[in-house]
Symmetry: D2
Subunit: 345 residues, 4 copies
């Protein structure tokens, strides 16, 4: 059984596990006040090209989103997001649990557009309407698409126009930054956003996300907020150790893993495209959404694990394939060949 179910279905990359083993017997202070978190923070500051950002190690993506939003917004403020955005669609109302609305806008190819932001602002009038205070993006989006630098700049201008923070959810940031055609860099993100996070869970770590706060207005007593929002780990150094392992060196493991995830996804993408298969969306990252005949999907499930992405329509089903740090080129080829066989091509 070959798994394309998600990029968090295995444990951590062996190098990450080794780092955890190598530091296991050290005694350190808890809660992220330790030399590994400090070292990881220093590495990240170099990678983003700014010494004045603040870096926090958070247990997971939802805690990270929630803590940033709750810290940044005044009580009467909302966060704008695509209706398909993770903080709206897949976090069980954790944002609203902190008292803030997610003002939804229609995505285009999974992404928020400047027009979407304009629309959200039409719902703001006066003291009877909550005030948008932040724009939430994820990169890649829920369907794997990636903002160009020009798109991010245009959204930044919209945020400045309306007085919004710009926050970017980077659960799969590695896959985005290493995707074909992506012209955005970590320093760009530190320049264009008020905060963003470098996701570990979905790119080789056991767990943990590294939050980069570029705007000090969001950083006020942020460790209080992390604790209050249940996003602080007692053995906080574990996250620091993992990011040290992932981000150190001239060609950090983090980006090598992400590139390989994209490449194995490309093997599937190109292979299926050659077979005439159509796709849902234009993801260049480690998620692939081919649309296949229902009976092919059924057969594929004997040998491969993946999720159906939407319901059957006209006999066809879009499925989601995700490649992870452990996915091999052979596994990707096996999938393409089996589809070829089932399609009788």
């Amino acid at each position: 059984m070959i798994s394309f179910r998600s990029d968090y279905s295995q444990g951590a990359h062996p190098a990450v596990m080794e780092a955890l083993m190598a530091t296991n017997f050290e005694h350190t202070d808890g809660y992220g006040i330790d030399r590994h978190c400090a070292a990881a923070s220093d590495i990240i500051k170099k990678l983003v090209g700014r010494d004045d950002v603040s870096v926090h190690m958070i247990t997971g993506g939802t805690p990270c989103n929630v803590t940033v939003i709750a810290s940044a917004l005044r009580p009467y403020e909302t966060v704008i997001a695509a209706r398909s955005g993770h903080c709206y669609f897949h976090e069980t109302g954790a944002v609203e649990a902190t008292g803030h609305r997610v003002t939804t806008v229609p995505p285009v190819d999974g992404k928020v557009t400047p027009e979407g932001v304009d629309f959200a602002m039409t719902e703001y009038q006066d003291e009877h309407t909550p005030k948008p205070g932040m724009l939430y993006l994820s990169m890649p989006s829920e369907i794997g698409t990636v903002y160009t630098k020009a798109e991010l700049e245009a959204l930044r201008r919209k945020c400045d126009e309306y007085g919004l923070y710009l926050y970017l959810d980077g659960a799969r940031l590695g896959a985005a930054l290493t995707a074909a055609g992506c012209d955005v860099t970590l320093p760009d993100l530190a320049a264009l956003t008020d905060a963003f996070y470098i996701g570990g869970t979905k790119n080789g770590a056991l767990f943990g996300e590294a939050l980069v706060i570029a705007n000090p207005a969001i950083d006020d007593h942020f460790r209080w907020m992390i604790k209050r929002q249940c996003a602080m780990l007692a053995k906080g150094r574990l996250i620091g150790v993992q990011f040290e392992a992932l981000l150190s060196g001239d060609d950090p493991l983090y980006f090598r893993l992400a590139r390989r995830e994209n490449e194995t996804a490309d093997v599937i993408r190109r292979g299926l495209a050659n077979l005439g298969v159509a796709f849902d969306g234009t993801s260049p990252t480690n998620q692939v959404f081919p649309i296949l005949p229902a009976k092919v999907v059924k057969e594929l499930k004997r040998d491969f694990f993946f999720y159906e992405w939407a319901g059957e329509k006209d006999g066809m089903i879009p499925i989601r394939l995700v490649t992870g740090w452990g996915t091999t080129e052979d596994e990707a080829i096996a999938f393409v060949l089996r589809v070829k066989e089932l399609l009788g091509k």
Copy 2:
């Protein structure tokens, strides 16, 4: 200057003021535990034809909506509403302040449809998605339209299918129930909803809404919830006294006022229609939304107070006229005649 700005721009109907004066020197317990609230509650139980409902006097519409929603829903649940619905659009995020999402659906002529409910439920999948727990309607809707009994029954069936409470915001309920063509009665509402309120503020009271809870599951420690949500008045009897005045007798003042509001609105509606004026929506209640040339609107503002409802488009502006308990037929006629004059007809 004739005012069509709103149905809460004047104080209370004189009969309501008289009742407040007549009871002013009485000593009673506070917080709604008094004989006037009890008497108003009894009257309402008779009007809705059920002795087993619970009636609470609440300071205003937003507090009423918020308290019902916060009491009825489990923390992980959301309330479905039209994106134009008051609890989403015009309450500054007061619902989200209690930790609950408003799941928005597109309205049709201001109203939620069964298809809208189906759409909202597509966003519910598993523990990663918040669970819709209630359907919020307002009757009349934000644009004055009224649900038919068949429409309410269809929505009730949807609610039963999905396990949702049905709550109806009756800020202008009098106008709805006395509108031309309305086939819904108070007993229907007590049968079809889990809770609804009879709005006082916008129909002759100084302030105050009478909440009717038909489903005891929502009524648990409800007075605790009222206090916690800042919706309890120290001199709670004031609301009881007003509803006694509004709802007593064979032909209660409440419905006479509402009928007259609709009639003066009809004078405007019919008069303008005869002049060939088009309208935004199909409101049969005390809100009228004529679309007039921008320069006519400008001239009208010299003598009449009203709000523009939307921006200018192709030289035309939709405006909102609202008739209140104090609006006279003469005022309505004056408006029609002035439009006639300005249109040169």
Copy 3:
């Protein structure tokens, strides 16, 4: 039956009712944006001697407390209050409903002391402990006692030392400021607090409190906060009209009523003291807490309405008597004489 149950057991003072009648037919904008609220605000600015404060009309005391606290505090902050304080003891957790702890301290004669503030701060250490951000006082306290100017100054210094806002709940502020021995004035409050409110409900109004915000840091988008916290009235002018009636003129009705309340309470206090009756606490305001034999209390209940303040102990029961705007000297004397009779003196 003579009532000493509370100072909100009757309606409004007749002059307040007259003002509501006299303005009843006016059309104004809603939600507190009207000339009466503006006029009341101007009067209050003169009374507090500062033109740069912000004044808001709020529906009641709990909504007022909650809105100020929720607006002033960052999410990780708490409000310090006496464990007997209203916002802790008698508001059903409405403060916590906004996500903030009330850090309680032991009161001394009903009042918070500088040592109490010191104690609260011992619970603050680092990111694992919520940070006190405000001191809540009420004046008079729950047992009717009044802070001296020196006490308020000492608490202000403590607040400055620890970086706390100072907020004063003035539900019965009239009674405090006119109490025998009180050396605090409205200008003092505007100078020593960051915000305080002038209570209407318990001093002659139907309802409504006038919030004075002296520190603009608390005033950010405050009307959004009022709406969100369910503390905004549609016919907001009603509160403005009432405060115009209560606070206008050289010798405002508000203070005349308060003085008379204190005087009728003094009649009881002096009369009972002459009979050798002991009291709970040292209230100089319109609440009196005599300790009487249980059987006397039982007999008194035939002719007078009041609440027992605590349980029976050694055959004695402390009761609470409250005088209101409508309480007469004759009623106070009748009570004293009846006690005299029952005590056999």
Copy 4:
């Protein structure tokens, strides 16, 4: 440098790390729906002697407390805890962030007493006061003390009398259950509480707590609550794997580690007692609180890492020593000998 700073200052016990390594390459579903969580749950059901409990794997202690409290309580309800209790004292207001008060009571030797519960209930009167809905205990308490079975039974009776849930925070449950004189067992906890958790973080795991819900009323849509409260891990199986390693077998590692922690603490306790050193509290678990001369404390800090527990008083300072899974008998002896030397005995 020998560390007694905490029982979470090192990584995981080697056997736990081995289990994580051994399962690292498996593909499983995320979020705790996997065979390791299922297996750990089965083991726990056997250990507690009930098949009808529900077991959930949670990222940490604060998330666990918060999720249970937010799920169990109605909005107007509070949780009773010792003022020194972790959920009040050391979680940055995370409970209040969910809208609930922590009603504090004075602890006796770190523990809540039936009289404490009685006191908390005196603050509950009617709809103006929030209603206690749960009793929170931690075992061991913040100062290491342990409830006897009789004490838990007495508290259970109080809870039944007042209609309270009983929840027990078991961050260091292993140390409690294996402490000298402890007569409480896991089956006792499943019988006497409505929910409790078996702490992993402070007893050999990298992180993670196993929550046991004995009362199904608390379990409603609990996985929705876990997600909403940011307490769910993407690679949820990691917690399952660790508890499998900790709890499997006839003499589970979990209890062996806890026993050893208590034993090394006993070495210190007995050794210092023989030197005439006094202690703060009567902890029989892995926390020791000796009171030492300030200058001895200063000297000890050269070779040992520990925290001062309170300020200096009469030249003496209480310090806190915590033994962890990695603490050796030699380290404990070294500490005692150094104190002996410094005391000149």
